[in-house]
Symmetry: C2
Subunit: 121 residues, 2 copies
DNA sequence: TGAACATATGAACAAGTATTCATATGATAA
DNA sequence: TTATCATATGAATACTTGTTCATATGTTCA
């Protein structure tokens, strides 16, 4: 609790303490910001957007996507695993082929939280 | 136009040509995807979200933000320049102090495009 | 069982990025 | 003009990330 424990990185003087205090009261938690930025980060890659955009139209297997985007199967697969971890896509296997689709439930949840919005599908 | 010019990275066989063709007709352009992912990337960092979140509440100077987030002035300044380039924030100088705020006009534009949505302000 | 094929995955590498440090710029006031 | 202060910025660094290559896994079919 001593002054020593609180090492301020900011080397400048506070200009508006009232503003700082006001804003502090309504700041989202660090966890919330982390979670939210994590989600945005997933959307922050053209390949992943491409995949999501395609899956909005139709379920697809990895091979379909690799062909459509003219990318390696491996690269698509890696990105799908990112999307899988973010629970944006799900999949079901039929023999050798794995079909990916949007995880509608979780995506709906994201929209329900109010951060994203899409016009038509 | 020869076969040689079109080198396919995908080493697997197309499973569903009909699906590929269908999806191809409705894919956003590469430019659009690039632009959109670029925007998401800006939101994909907790510090930048923190700044934006704060500015939603009140205009602030760099020093205020550095204090509030307990970060170096330099780091805040660097991130502000990213937000500036994305036209998410604007600023006006009053003497030595630079005040940052949300670029409401451009943000409104982004919302108008239908990608993002916020509940209250 | 083993060959063939779709997909997954670990390691390596190149490219991108957030922060820090040092310093520059721009403004004020003495 | 010079000192001071708020902010900006370039270089360096540590870290993250997207793709590729090689290979593993899992399934089908002969």
């Amino acid at each position: 609790m001593s002054k020593q424990t609180e090492i301020l990185k900011c080397d400048c003087n506070v200009i508006h303490q009232d503003v700082v205090d006001l804003v502090k009261t309504t700041m989202p938690s660090q966890d919330k910001l982390q979670e939210l930025s994590q989600l945005f980060k997933v959307f922050g890659d053209p390949t992943r957007l491409k995949i999501l955009s395609a899956l909005f139209k139709s379920e697809m297997c990895v091979c379909d996507m690799a062909t459509l985007f003219n990318m390696t199967q491996s690269s698509i697969s890696h990105q799908l695993s990112v999307l899988k971890q973010a629970r944006l896509v799900n999949y079901h296997r039929e023999g050798k082929v794995v079909y990916y689709g949007l995880d509608d439930q979780h995506i709906q949840q994201i929209f329900d939280q109010g951060y994203l919005h899409i016009q038509e599908r």
